[in-house]
Symmetry: C2
């Protein structure tokens, strides 16, 4: 255990816990993790595991009485088998590094959270991270075959299946994915890799209003196309990106849809996508040029950094059924007006996943009441529209109250009982996940 | 509770339990299921839930002290939303009926077990059923968003998420999928639907040996193509199909690979597949004609019926890493020779999933020792090659001993504890799933 750098007690949520953690262990191997858990238990501490600290919901925020367990040095890609389409990786591997290693074999790692260049596989597993390609390829859970977990007693256990397919016993690997370090500490995983799509095609379409763009998403859903990426950004977000990047996106419309198709028929499929959105768009175009596509997706990935320059972003992460997307957009606009706070909206429209971002004055110690109220209203809106309060960022410590409202007391009671199976003394990241 | 027809105590595994069940409830609605569970509890009975009785592992086999709960009449498709790409269905809906209803909206239900025309969504969820399209589209778990379960105390609970994406709390819907009625009784589910692929292309390739075909599977994995279907059949199975169908498949080779690509680039992709397999094949061809494709897939789906005419089939369901497929095939051949039993081999090669079928004399009351020994050897082979003893059929009551060998005592202990969370008195299908 070494002295704690304050940065190791927080993540990207802006949340702070009361007090300072008791210490930090930077694990170099699995035995270090096991020893740390046993040490914490002996010292009466709880264990808050972290990877890159890029979480957005406070799942790795540590306070008094906590031992911070840093897995970022467990960063070996143990093996990649291109015939099997699998990789064995340690938890601290940066997600983009795995993807790059896979691409050397003609494969790729499908989940791609916005944080792909800094976040770790272990962190992605903890939160069941999504990303831009979710509309076609799903989320982290869909890519994880097995996990090696250090349990609350320090023992090591492998859960899941070795092969792409397998149904022996309960899906315990799936249970651990998204459990935010509360059931066990994931130290390694076997993940699935897919063949790199032969071609990609990318469309951009601008709209007079965000609602028009949301209507276009519904039209695309009915078109028979299945874009790998379908992103939505509102005019305010485009303006912020323009300010950061020197681009002129907002001059072209008050909303942007970015769609990417991939595979052998990418061009024909993108034509179907653009045909579907054309009725609602003011203008649209598509390209098979990877450079142009990369520029467009880069702009999208700059949305959060652009907003971070304007203040402290309070990042929401709701999902609604795609058929309610336009209603969700209208509701968010109404909340912004009623609460008198700026709310920027972008997200993974193909999944019905919106990130409404409330930007607040960074000099304030606490969130202003208007922002808290607006966040509250957005959660309520998501549930009212038959959606969820978190699509891909997780519950962490930030959304506990709302998670419990979404789940209801009976389902929370099941969570408590399962938590007790894995961690009877409650030493693994208590207060996170639900 | 009504008198029990003996057929309601068994499934397609050939297994029989000791004694006769106490009775059967044919549920007409969810309230019937709740009442049946409460009645069973009051009467000291256990509950064995069944759908179509098409299970292959004995998960729905009921004996003395059991109440059989038949959900086949819970067969309403409550709603389909084409924009959301979701359907709300009751457990007793025949899987092919859901698929047909989805296709009326330009969508389809991706999981397609061989039994798709007779098995139910509830049974598919119980076993986490796979199928022919698993190589590209995954298995039942990948299609299930939420489940409505009647718990061991008769209460009704919804687990999972309403939207395509969502990470609020633990993945309890995923935990229930594949749990074979041991954690709760699934009475309804929200499942995901996908756009019907614009085109399909289908290739057939014949090989001099089954090992050559297995090597071709590895070559396809490295080709960059991602076939939706990749099926393998050995010469003996082809001969049995010929006898049933009047076809002449076996004249063309000692192994057949069937590959199907789908989507906008189906033709270009099938050309990549055939190029990859051409080195190992004696001859191959492909077609974009749906009729020809349907005939080929029909032949594949007749494999099990064809073998059922030869005797009682003992159906194995192993998966191995794709890179070990040729070794698996060699190993199975060696087992057949050593044990002096006929073993027919076909399966979903794209997933590394083989169904070695031992055919035994149907007049025997018990399986002959040679067949039991061969089955045992096949399980051991799967584990030795880094595989699993069941890829998609489930554990049921047939593979319990082997499931426990695969899982190991620590993981079995976790199963016991989770089972106790959901069903503390052990009344839900005890003896199944692990």
């Amino acid at each position: 255990m070494t002295d704690l750098a304050p940065a190791l007690a927080i993540d990207r949520s802006g949340l702070r816990a009361a007090g300072s953690p008791a210490g930090v262990v930077v694990a170099r191997d699995v035995a270090d993790v096991q020893a740390a858990v046993r040490r914490a238990r002996a010292d009466g501490l709880v264990v808050v595991t972290r990877g890159a600290g890029s979480g957005l919901a406070g799942g790795a925020v540590a306070g008094a009485g906590a031992l911070v367990l840093d897995l970022s040095r467990l960063d070996r890609i143990r093996s990649i088998d291109p015939v099997d389409g699998t990789a064995d990786v340690e938890a601290g591997v940066i997600t983009a590094h795995l993807d790059a290693a896979a691409r050397a074999h003609g494969l790729f790692y499908a989940p791609d959270p916005g944080s792909v260049g800094i976040s770790t596989i272990g962190g992605n597993i903890a939160t069941n991270a999504g990303g831009l390609r979710g509309a076609k390829y799903g989320v982290t859970r869909d890519a994880v075959l097995s996990v090696d977990v250090v349990r609350a007693d320090g023992s090591l256990l492998r859960l899941g299946r070795p092969t792409i397919k397998g149904v022996t016993g309960y899906d315990l690997a799936g249970l651990v994915v998204g459990s935010e370090g509360t059931l066990g500490i994931v130290v390694a995983a076997r993940v699935r890799l897919l063949p790199v799509p032969r071609r990609i095609a990318t469309a951009s379409a601008f709209f007079a209003t965000l609602e028009d763009a949301a209507e276009a998403v519904a039209a695309i859903a009915l078109s028979g196309a299945r874009p790998a990426v379908l992103e939505i950004l509102d005019g305010e977000t485009l303006g912020a990106i323009d300010a950061l990047e020197g681009s002129a996106l907002r001059d072209r419309g008050e909303a942007l849809l970015l769609a990417q198709t991939d595979g052998f028929g990418a061009e024909e499929e993108i034509a179907v996508v653009t045909e579907a959105l054309s009725a609602a768009a003011t203008h649209h175009e598509w390209t098979a040029d990877p450079e142009t596509a990369a520029t467009l997706l880069h702009a999208r990935r700059q949305a959060l950094p652009a907003l971070e320059r304007l203040g402290r972003p309070v990042i929401e992460d709701i999902a609604v059924p795609r058929s309610r997307l336009a209603e969700a957009v209208r509701g968010i606009r109404a909340i912004a007006a009623r609460r008198e706070v700026p709310i920027y909206v972008f997200g993974h429209a193909g999944d019905g996943n919106l990130h409404p971002i409330i930007v607040v004055d960074p000099s304030l110690d606490e969130l202003p009441e208007s922002a808290v109220g607006a966040a509250d209203d957005i959660f309520a809106l998501a549930l009212e529209l038959g959606g969820t309060v978190t699509a891909e960022h997780g519950i962490g410590r930030l959304k506990r109250e709302w998670a419990r409202r979404e789940l209801g007391p009976e389902v929370v009671a099941v969570h408590d009982a399962i938590k007790a199976v894995f961690d009877p003394d409650g030493i693994l990241n208590p207060g996170a996940a639900y």
